[in-house]
């Protein structure tokens, strides 16, 4: 049976949803409509996050989750790698 879009959204973990929201916020500040944030998207090449946006993302993650990969010396390439860091 095919799932509806809403059901797909509900299957995202809380962490995943929070990360998607943070990335969407970064796009909102740019004045750009965000693309659909899939796990395969690369943070710098596809989403074009610059160093200040990555630094802001790192700070938001730490604030929300109490830890973040960048401070741990890990630089995730994709949204999926970022989500995995918090699910591991």
């Amino acid at each position: 049976m095919r799932r509806t879009v809403d059901q797909f959204v509900e299957t995202k973990s809380t962490g995943h949803q929070a990360i998607v929201r943070m990335i969407e916020d970064l796009f909102a500040y740019r004045g750009e409509a965000p693309p659909e944030i899939s796990l395969a998207l690369r943070l710098t090449e596809d989403l074009d996050l610059d160093s200040l946006e990555l630094a802001e993302l790192s700070a938001m993650l730490e604030e929300d989750f109490g830890r973040d990969p960048y401070s741990a010396g890990i630089v995730p390439d994709t949204v999926g790698e970022l989500v995995s860091f918090f699910e591991s």
């Binding site: 916020d25 909102a28 500040y29 740019r30 004045g31 750009e32 074009d48 610059d50 160093s51 200040l52 990555l54 630094a55 802001e56 790192s58 700070a59 938001m60 960048y70 630089v75």
Partner: protein, 279 residues
Amino acid sequence: MSAQHAYGPREHYDRVGAAWSFLLGSELHYGVFDTPDEELPIASRRLTRMMAEAAQLEPGARVLDVGCGSGAPALYLVVEHGVHVTGITTSVGGVATARARARTAGLSDRAEFLERDGMANDFPSGSFDRVWVLESSHLMRRRDRLISECARTLKPGGRAVLCDIVLRRELPLEEVRERRAEFALLRDVFGAARMEPVAAYKKLLAEQGLEIDTEVDLTARVRPTFSRWRENAAQHRDEVVALLGGTEIDDFVASCDVLDGLWQDGTLGYALLAAWKPV
């Protein structure tokens, strides 16, 4: 995050355009100073003149001004060098101001201004004798697309000139994170900027087959610009507050201090490059 407004170049210039002519002067760009106490309009005009010299302009040449602001340098080129300028910007307000200026000066037949993106300008290949990018490249996120569009729209034998703020050292992510309040303030005041090292520009120009023959480091000579901007803020406080509000002028002054600090610690500088497109 401290951003109070969307900071894409289009939104940014439409919002701040009028107030900035008080703060940055009518040319809306840095100055090149012979002495630290020189006036900003003289120093700003010197930068425009240096670019014009590097461009080796000839009367009748067709010039594409990428990121033309409100058109002051473009009209200077028309008057002083007898060229025809097509200025492009993503700012609707910038286009309107530049067109009005051209009309007032009676130059509308030799200076046209269009709302277009420097990273995808839609002009036919080989349309221009010169491509001019004065301090706008740092606002175009895809620098590779900007440079490839410049190279594509140049005629063979044409010349590209560019000047801008450049990154003079690698900034580790930890340092960006630590200093993110400073960088976010700059973004809020000046729009979303991405500085690149001179070497990155040179690589992109070379990849597009352009031959660089001019490279000038203007880092020290532009630095008094920040003092002049602070003085302008003090002198025109009432006008700017009326246009933007009190917080924004205080942020502007604080951002001048941040820039001065980034110049002082060797993070940022200023460079001018020129290159030929081989025949």
